[in-house]
């Protein structure tokens, strides 16, 4: 156990070091800009993974919490003289309270029913973004959202935004990795395997599910607020059902329950449209195919697949070494 934990710390520190050093080697600002969005999507994917990968509860309404974070932040800072940092805190708080309140009835549902209910919730929120034109600007969006700032230091260029977003993302990743090895993480896994068995063992499954749903909404709303303040313009199109499916795809192809998997999934899905500009319209077909194929043939996702093939190769090498000897 100790060795495993030490290895985990080592891997995380290595990952964090690479993340912090990357901007030094990247002079071109375009790629840095893509990395900012990878950071935001990683936050969102990790948030969904806490719910889906750890606790086994699906949500097709994650884009709604992302959107709520973005819109609450955007409206508070453009319509009222609210400081962006305060807006971020208020946005995350509001989304969490909403998630906590709807969490009780919604998480009573299971499997397909839970998927449909969260999908319905997501679409209701999306309709509200579109129709409350006086507040949100409707389909044409909300512009002029101010950047975050620390004293004289303004987060208005890609390099600064990169550090802002990735500090937050690394923090959330560390907490999530920690969570998986805590008592709460084990309880969530127990719920994932068998909710009844978990309850028999004394896990307050209902409260636990609502809490992780709330945490997931909290992180998603922070991502939304960061998104609004870095990109300074938001419109409902970014927060629809398609984006919820995209987040689901990130988590599935990376690997359920794997935090680095979420990063990998977010990276692939953020880069894919950048590289496949010619095939712009193909992305949705590719996402659908990936969801099906990965679920059928690689249920542990790419990270699981990589670990598996390393193991197989290692055993083969070992085997042939023994044969030779």
């Amino acid at each position: 156990m100790m060795i495993k934990e030490k290895r985990q710390i080592f891997i995380f520190l290595l990952f964090a070091l690479v993340v912090l050093l990357v901007p030094i080697f990247l002079k071109g600002s375009y790629f840095l800009n893509v990395l900012v969005f990878i950071g935001i999507n990683t936050l969102l994917a990790v948030a969904l993974n806490l719910l889906l990968g750890y606790a086994g509860q699906i949500s097709l309404g994650q884009a709604a919490f992302f959107g709520l974070g973005a819109y609450i932040s955007g409206i508070l800072t453009t319509r009222f003289p609210v400081d962006p940092w305060l807006a971020l805190v208020v946005a995350a708080g509001c989304a969490s309270v909403l998630a906590f309140v709807i969490g009780f009835p919604i998480l009573k549902l299971k499997g397909h029913y839970l998927a449909m209910a969260t999908l319905g919730f997501g679409i209701i929120v999306y309709i509200i973004f579109n129709e409350t034109v006086d507040w949100t600007g409707g389909p044409s969006g909300l512009s002029g959202i101010p950047n975050l700032r620390l004293g004289p230091f303004v987060f208005d260029n890609d390099r600064n935004n990169y550090y802002l977003v990735w500090m937050m993302t690394l923090g959330v990743m560390l907490l999530s990795i920690n969570l998986s090895q805590s008592r709460i993480g084990r309880a969530l896994r127990a719920i994932n395997d068998s909710e009844v068995a978990a309850r028999v063992m004394g896990v307050n499954a209902r409260m636990m599910k609502v809490q992780i749903f709330t945490v997931s909404a909290f992180v998603s709303a922070i991502a939304g607020s960061l998104y609004a303040h870095t990109i300074t313009f938001i419109s409902p199109a970014s927060f629809g059902f398609n984006f919820s499916v995209e987040l689901l795809t990130m988590v599935i192809i990376g690997g359920l329950g794997s935090i680095y998997g979420s990063f990998l999934g977010a990276t692939i899905l953020t880069m894919l449209p950048e590289f496949l500009r010619v095939f712009r319209d193909f992305d949705i077909v590719i996402y659908g195919l990936m969801l099906i194929l990965i679920t059928m043939f690689m249920p542990a996702g790419l990270i699981g697949g990589i670990e598996m093939s390393i193991k197989i190769i290692a055993e083969k090498i070992k085997g042939s070494a023994e044969n030779n000897a």
Partner: protein, 294 residues
């Protein structure tokens, strides 16, 4: 238009939309009862029905009824391929995986439809002209009558099939207990495939009869699918009267809500009803509560 006739108009629109929701709901119930899967791609069969008909008509110079039959055949083929390629190969999977696979299939079919047919909205010609009829000051399109007629026919055919035909009875046996059904010589795999066939056929028919009224495009499947799901949830996951009532109720509430409260929130009403039903009576409005075995 005075108020009573406006009310009649809303009710008519509501009922005809509701009939469509009920048919889509049937599709959900038939697959769910045979396999335990809630097929998220159900709405895509509805989209395929309308889109296939329109494109068969534009490529082949054949009469509408033949185009409709061909379109249903093609949609059913998609249903068969879906079952054979993505559902049957699975063994001992968690419900979560099934949810994800049907979601994947739904966006795959939608994306493929977009690539093949483009993003434009298309109209199917009405089955028998656009000369409106007037009832109590409200206008009825002949297409509304087609919708009511075909829906009633499908409901009766569905009832007869599941109550009297040997195949229908075998499918019901599988729904009740697949293992016991296999012991008395029923081929469960064939019944599962058949459930996809029936469900795709009914779904695409629904898509075809609504297309002349509402237009259609590659992305209509998701909204129609969820509303059909809402109907079948109200009906307690049966392909019977409960779901018909559920669909009509949903159609009426939606149409009256859009007419008297706010048209821009029309879709939101359906989803609020869906959430309320799921929260308060997930076993349906017309069903006795059952205990869950674990």
């Amino acid at each position: 238009m005075d108020n009573p006739s406006q009310l009649v108009q809303y009710i008519l629109t509501g009922l005809s939309n509701g009939a469509i929701y009920a048919l889509i709901g049937f599709g959900f119930a038939i697959i769910h009862n045979a396999t335990g899967i809630l097929n998220f791609a159900q709405g895509e069969f509805v989209m395929l029905g309308g889109m296939f008909t329109i494109f068969i008509l534009s490529f082949l110079n054949i009469p509408l009824p033949m185009a409709i039959v061909l379109a249903i055949a093609f949609s059913t083929l998609v249903g068969i391929l879906f079952e054979r390629l993505a559902i049957r190969p699975l063994k001992n999977v968690k419900p979560l995986s099934l949810v994800i696979i049907t979601i994947g299939a739904s966006i795959f079919i939608r994306g493929a439809a977009m690539l093949i047919w483009g993003k434009d909205t298309h109209a199917l010609p009405a089955f028998s002209g656009n000369e409106p009829l007037y009832v109590y000051g409200a206008t009825i399109m002949p297409q509304h009558l087609w919708i009511f007629g075909i829906t009633i026919l499908i409901i009766i055919a569905n009832k007869l099939f599941f109550s009297y035909s040997i195949l229908g009875k075998a499918m019901r046996a599988c729904a009740y207990n697949a293992y016991a059904a296999s012991l008395v010589g029923i081929d469960v795999k064939i019944m599962v495939l058949l459930s996809f066939v029936v469900s795709a056929a009914i779904g695409s028919m629904a898509g075809i009869i609504i297309a002349p009224l509402t237009m259609t495009s590659y992305d209509v499947g998701i909204m129609l699918g969820i509303k059909g799901f809402c109907a079948v949830i109200i009906g307690g996951m049966s392909s019977g009267l409960g779901t018909v009532l559920g669909g009509l109720l949903l159609g009426l509430l939606e149409s009256l809500g859009a007419g008297y409260i706010s048209a821009s929130y029309k879709d939101a009403f359906a989803f609020i009803i869906l959430l309320l039903i799921l929260f308060i009576r997930p076993e349906g409005l017309f069903k006795q509560k059952e205990t869950q075995r674990v």
